[in-house]
Each structure stands twice: as structure tokens, then as C-alpha cells.
């Protein structure tokens, strides 16, 4: 069993692919159908290109602050590929790639970071919880989603994400612990991207690995190469299987790196060296996965060039759509406060409407 074999207390990290996309751990190479493999790659590329473009737009003043995903695509797409439609994704705030794979549209992702709540209104049957900004609090949501599944007797699994820094937060503790107490179908993935804004992983906790925190909850924990989509797929598959069998939750530490800034307001050069960034560039999750697919004759340069062309156009078109989308109306910002708007709030809204109409009609008296 995978989780017995890798002991985070000994610092053992689970890997399937090496830097050149070669399988170095045959026993655990997951059997994924070709179509899915290609789809995984395409989604990683989409996330990457969308990210790079958004950064450009942001620099041009066309996009607001957002949290880039670059470098972490494998630790997001791998796990999502190991889930089914009915399963839930309960993200933190840097899971754009996971969301895309799970069924959020790029339009929605962009719209959200563009500053419009409508971006979180995912389609019917797309089980994604909205981007969750307050660190750690999503873990309890995931426990609740899983708890509901258990009570209802469905076999949905909740997959949730948190950062390395987030593990210092009390809600991480309460949520993972809750999952253990009730043996819930829940998989918590820590994306250890080495930093919480400017604060290095070593400041988050004295524990050598984050995976070993699983011992606090009496559940399996494993450290996985987070830039290896296959390892992430395999570990998550195993965790999902356990969850569906009623064997309870799993904690996965995905060791990865945030290639970009924390958000577009951040200047990472203050706190990390170019050498460090370059070292991680060598481990790029897309390159590795590309090579794996190429080795399997599922992908090649020609296809890749075409894909990149296509995605760039798609991304640009989508962003244009977002820029042309109507801004939230006065009604929209009020009417979702409650199912039915209370009287006093109606009056507040109408007072603002009256003011706005008067301003628009030019008079201010």
C-alpha cells in the first residue's frame, strides 16, 4: 500500500516521473487512458497560458491583483484527474488549474479575478466551492461537504487545498481532525510551494515535512513530488479510493514551487534568489509531463505548437469577453445578501439608486 510505503518522518518523497519524464517508479505508474493524459496536459497548458496572459493584462492595468498558479499545475491537475464529476473541489485561492480541470470555465476564473462575483457562480453540477481567501477556513468546509456525503450515503469525495503557510492556521487543524474523527471521505492536499508570501516554509512549522502532520490526526500522510502530475494522480487516486471505501481521510503534501509572485502586488525578488527560481525551473511540471507524453507518442512538438496557438487565441478572446461583460448592477450587489431583501435594505438600495440616477442625469441637487 502506497501510504504505508512512504514515511514522511523519514523524509521519503513519492515520485513517479523524473525530470526527463521517465518513469522511475514503475509499480506506481498509474494507468490513465490516453485521452485523459492529453486532457491533463492541455489543461495544464491552458492554466499556464492563462496565467502568463493575465500577468501581462495586469501589468497593462487591465486586470486586478490575482494569485498566479504557474509552477503548481501538476499538483492541481493530477489530483483532479483522479476524481470523478460528483467529487468536490474545495479550493484555497491559488487553484486556477484545478478549477479549470474540474469544470470552471476560464471565463469564470477570469471574471472572478477581474472583480466580479459572478465568476464564482459555477455551472449546475460543477462541484467547486468559490475561491476562499481567509487562510485555512476552507478545510472545515471540505470536512462538511464530506460529512454530508457520508450522512447522505453518496460516495462523493471532497478534495481540498491549502498552502504550506496555511498549515499553521488553527482551522487546518480543526478541519483535518474533524475528517479523522468521523472517518470522512476527504483528501487534503497541502501545496507546499515553499513560501507564504515572503515567509519561507521553515517559518511555518518546525516539522521537517508537512505530511507528517497526519500523525496528529491518526490518518495517512504522504509527501509527493508536486511537480510530477503522475505521482500526484497516483497518490490522490489511492486517497480517493480509501475515502470512497469509508476508510477515511488522507493528507498529501505536494512539494512544489510558485514560479511567479505571490500575487501581482508582490515582489518576490526581495525574499528569494534567482538561483533558487532557476533550480525549480528545471523541474517544470509541464516540461516533465510533455516529455512523458512524448515518450508515449501521445504528444509532439507540432501538436504542442498548434495547441499553444489555439490556447493563446482562446485566452485572449476570453479576456476580451470578460472586459466586455457588464459590471455588477446595484441590484446584484444587494440582492444576494439574503434570499429575500429585508425592508430596510430595500430602502438603502433605493436611496443609492436615486442618488446614482440623479448623478447620471447631471443634477446634484
Amino acid at each position: 500500500m502506497l501510504f504505508d510505503q512512504y514515511d514522511p518522518l523519514k523524509g521519503e518523497m513519492f515520485t513517479v516521473l523524473d525530470k526527463d519524464g521517465k518513469v522511475v517508479n514503475k509499480d506506481y505508474e498509474p494507468s490513465i487512458d490516453d485521452e485523459t493524459l492529453v486532457h491533463m496536459y492541455k489543461t495544464m497548458q491552458l492554466a499556464r497560458i492563462a496565467d502568463i496572459k493575465a500577468l501581462q493584462y495586469q501589468r497593462q492595468g487591465r486586470m486586478l491583483t490575482f494569485a498566479p498558479v504557474q509552477g503548481q499545475e501538476a499538483s492541481q491537475v493530477g489530483p483532479m484527474a483522479a476524481t470523478e464529476q460528483k467529487d468536490w473541489l474545495v479550493p484555497a485561492f491559488r487553484e486556477a488549474a484545478a478549477m479549470l480541470y474540474k469544470g470552471a470555465t476560464l471565463y469564470q476564473n477570469y471574471l472572478y479575478w477581474y472583480g466580479n462575483e459572478l465568476g464564482s457562480q459555477y455551472d449546475e453540477g460543477v462541484n467547486i466551492m468559490p475561491v476562499n481567501v481567509p487562510i485555512g477556513s476552507q478545510i472545515n468546509h471540505a470536512a462538511g461537504v464530506a460529512h454530508a456525503a457520508k450522512i447522505k450515503g453518496t460516495d462523493e469525495v471532497a478534495i481540498t487545498y491549502i498552502g504550506d503557510g496555511g498549515t499553521s492556521n488553527g482551522e487546518f487543524h480543526e478541519g483535518v481532525n474533524w475528517g479523522g474523527v468521523y472517518d470522512l471521505p476527504m483528501v487534503t492536499i497541502i501545496q507546499n510551494n515553499q513560501y507564504a508570501i515572503s515567509t519561507p516554509r521553515s517559518q511555518a512549522t518546525r516539522a521537517k515535512t508537512l505530511a507528517q502532520k497526519a500523525h496528529a490526526y491518526g490518518i495517512p500522510g504522504i509527501q509527493v513530488d508536486g511537480n510530477d502530475a503522475l505521482a500526484m494522480y497516483a497518490a490522490t487516486s489511492e486517497a480517493v479510493k480509501r475515502a470512497r471505501n469509508g476508510e477515511g481521510p488522507t493528507l498529501i503534501e505536494a512539494v512544489t514551487y510558485r514560479m511567479g509572485p505571490h500575487t501581482t502586488s508582490d515582489d518576490p525578488t526581495i525574499y528569494r534568489s534567482e538561483e533558487e527560481v532557476n533550480e525549480w525551473r528545471e523541474k517544470d511540471p509541464l516540461t516533465r509531463f510533455y516529455k512523458y507524453l512524448a515518450n508515449r507518442k501521445l504528444w509532439n512538438k507540432e501538436k504542442d505548437d498548434a495547441l499553444q496557438e489555439e490556447l493563446k487565441k482562446f485566452v485572449a478572446d476570453t479576456f476580451k469577453q470578460v472586459e466586455n461583460a457588464p459590471h455588477p448592477t446595484l441590484d446584484e450587489v444587494f440582492d444576494y445578501t439574503y434570499e429575500t431583501l429585508p425592508e430596510d435594505l430595500k430602502r438603502q438600495k433605493e436611496a443609492i439608486r436615486a442618488y446614482q440616477e440623479q448623478q447620471e442625469s447631471g443634477g446634484d441637487e
Partner: protein, 325 residues
């Protein structure tokens, strides 16, 4: 009809809703097996099973946070915070998520959650066991807050809270859990959230209170005799506040006294006074007034008498406002 205490009426509403709706679940610290430290949920685990009525770890963030997840996945969780003074570790979840999920997701996720918590003082309790924290919830857009003062309302408001598609905080006035009984229908009924109750009509002064303090106020009014005609309003829903009922009443009486257990500064009284100013300014014959606990920490029992508002003081204050010229 049966006669019930306020505590029993809550238990009855919970039992009924657990029966009628399979998506209702109930949990909290010690709320399952032993039925809570006040036994409000006694018997419910036995009737409805350990899956639907259960004990939790000491984890208020977990209790509220999982309720948010559960509600997003189709359940209607009724949660318990053991005492309102211990809600703070769960306040993050209530303020930043529970209150906002409908808006954040533009209606994709709405959260039919009830958060029950015993509140209020005058019961000679330990620190943190006597707080009145209405303001902290009523200030947060997206939350509702109700407080019953009678068994009838307790059941009706709980039923309405569970059926509400938005999160409802339900404060239970622990001091009057078992103070008296009232006829309560056995069948399901709702007391509308957002509507104050006029306890008695009157023409000289409008007095507003709720929870256990309402009964102290009623005692005071009884003492007053017929000299002053008091219109007494049980605010009952703190948020969204039925200030219209209060404003209308003050238009008639010209005078307002708000009585509450919570501290003065930014207590619910301040909002009511402001709204009465906004809605009935030219009807005011005396300054709208509040009688509240002072702006100090609830003292331990041996000092509590300096803190709590009692009937004689309420009586005096009613007279002051009513006779003011």
C-alpha cells in the same frame, strides 16, 4: 396543545424538523449523547440516530465551518455553540463565510444553517457564560439573529429558522429555559423571522426589549400599575431588525425606552434609537433612551448585581422617560 417550557419547546421544534426533513442534522459539543449541557437536545440522538444527531470535538470553527460545507452539499445543519461566549473561535466562519456564501457565489450556494447558542446573564455563572453578543451578529450583513422570549415563539422561530434558506443565529435565553410554561401547539407552525411582537398596546411610551430581559421589563410594567400606558414590543428578531414596528409605535407614543442586557456602547439600543430618530424624529417628546448593562466585562457572580438591569430600575427609567417634559 401541550404546555411546555421554552427549553422543551425548542426540543420539540428540533424533534419535529428532524422528523419531517431528512436533510436536517444537529450537532455540537455534548449535544448528541447527553443532549447538551442544558439538555435542550435530550433524547434527539436516541430518536434520530447518531448519524444525524451527534457530539463534536471542541472545535467551534469546525462546527460552523462544516455546517457551511454540509449546507453547500444539501443538508440543513442545526448547530450548537455551548455558550455564546464561546462563539468567537467560530466567528470567523460566521462572519467571513456563512454570512457571505450566497452573495459570493451569486446564489449557487445558499446556507440554510441554524446556529443555536444559550446567551445572557444573571445565572451566577463562570466567566464567558453570561454574555449578550447580539451586536456582533447584527452588524454583519447576511446574518439573521432571533431571540425568543416565550415557549410559543421559541418553537415557531426555531421552525422558521430551520426552514429559512439563509443562516440564522438563534440565541436561547438560558435564564428562562425553564422559568415558566405556556401552551404550545403540537403541530408545526412558524413565527415569521423579521417581525417584532407587540406584547401589549399602550399610548404613553414605547418600551422595547427581548429575551429574558423582556420578562424583567414586564415585571416592571406590572409594578407601574395603570399610571403609565406602556406599549411593549418584543423585538424578537434582532436582525433583520423590525425597526418599522418600533418607529410606528413611537410615532404614536412619542417616547422610547430600549432595555437590554448587552453593554451600552453599540448595543442594539443604539441602532433602535438611530432608526427612531430617522423615522419618527418629529414625533419625539423625550429623548429616546436606553437602559443597558454598563460598558464593562460581565463580572463574576459576586459582582454581578452591579451589572445587571433589574425590574425596579426599569420601572424607574420608564417613569423618567414617560414623565419627561
Amino acid at each position: 396543545m401541550a404546555t411546555m417550557t421554552l427549553l422543551k419547546a425548542i426540543n420539540n421544534a428540533l424533534d419535529q424538523q428532524l422528523n419531517n426533513d431528512k436533510s436536517v442534522v444537529l450537532y455540537g459539543e455534548d449535544a448528541g449523547f447527553e443532549g447538551g449541557v442544558f439538555r435542550v437536545t435530550a433524547g434527539l440522538q436516541k430518536t434520530h440516530g447518531k448519524d444525524r444527531v451527534f457530539d463534536t470535538p471542541i472545535s467551534e470553527a469546525g462546527i460552523i465551518g462544516t455546517a457551511i460545507g454540509m449546507a453547500s452539499n444539501g443538508m440543513r445543519p442545526v448547530t450548537e455553540i455551548q455558550f455564546s461566549g464561546f462563539m468567537f473561535p467560530g466567528f470567523n466562519q460566521m462572519a467571513v463565510h456563512m454570512a457571505r456564501m450566497r452573495n459570493r457565489s451569486r446564489g449557487k450556494y445558499n446556507l440554510p444553517i441554524v446556529v443555536r447558542m444559550p446567551y445572557g446573564g444573571g445565572v451566577r455563572a463562570l466567566e464567558h457564560h453570561s454574555e449578550s453578543l447580539e451586536t456582533l451578529f447584527a452588524h454583519i450583513p447576511g446574518l439573521k439573529l432571533v431571540i425568543p422570549s416565550t415557549p410559543y415563539d421559541a418553537k415557531g422561530l426555531m421552525t422558521a429558522a430551520i426552514k429559512d434558506n439563509d443562516p440564522v443565529i438563534y440565541f436561547e435565553p438560558k435564564k428562562i429555559y425553564r422559568a415558566f410554561k405556556q401552551e404550545v401547539p403540537e403541530e408545526e407552525y412558524e413565527v415569521e423571522i423579521g417581525k417584532a411582537r407587540t406584547v401589549q398596546e399602550g399610548s404613553d411610551i414605547t418600551v422595547v426589549s427581548w429575551g429574558a430581559m423582556l420578562h424583567e421589563t414586564m415585571k416592571a410594567i406590572k409594578e407601574l400599575g395603570d399610571d403609565i400606558s406602556v406599549e411593549l414590543i418584543d423585538l424578537r428578531t434582532i436582525a433583520p431588525m423590525d425597526s418599522d414596528a418600533v418607529v410606528e409605535s413611537v410615532k404614536k407614543t412619542g417616547r422610547l425606552l430600549v432595555v437590554h442586557e448587552a453593554v451600552k456602547t453599540l448595543g442594539i439600543g443604539s441602532e433602535l434609537i438611530s432608526r427612531v430618530n430617522e423615522g419618527a424624529f418629529f414625533h419625539l417628546e423625550a429623548q429616546p433612551t436606553r437602559l443597558t448593562s454598563p460598558d464593562i466585562t460581565v463580572p463574576l457572580p459576586k459582582g454581578e448585581r452591579h451589572h445587571i438591569v433589574d425590574a425596579p430600575r426599569i420601572k424607574q427609567e420608564i417613569e423618567k422617560v414617560a414623565y419627561f417634559e
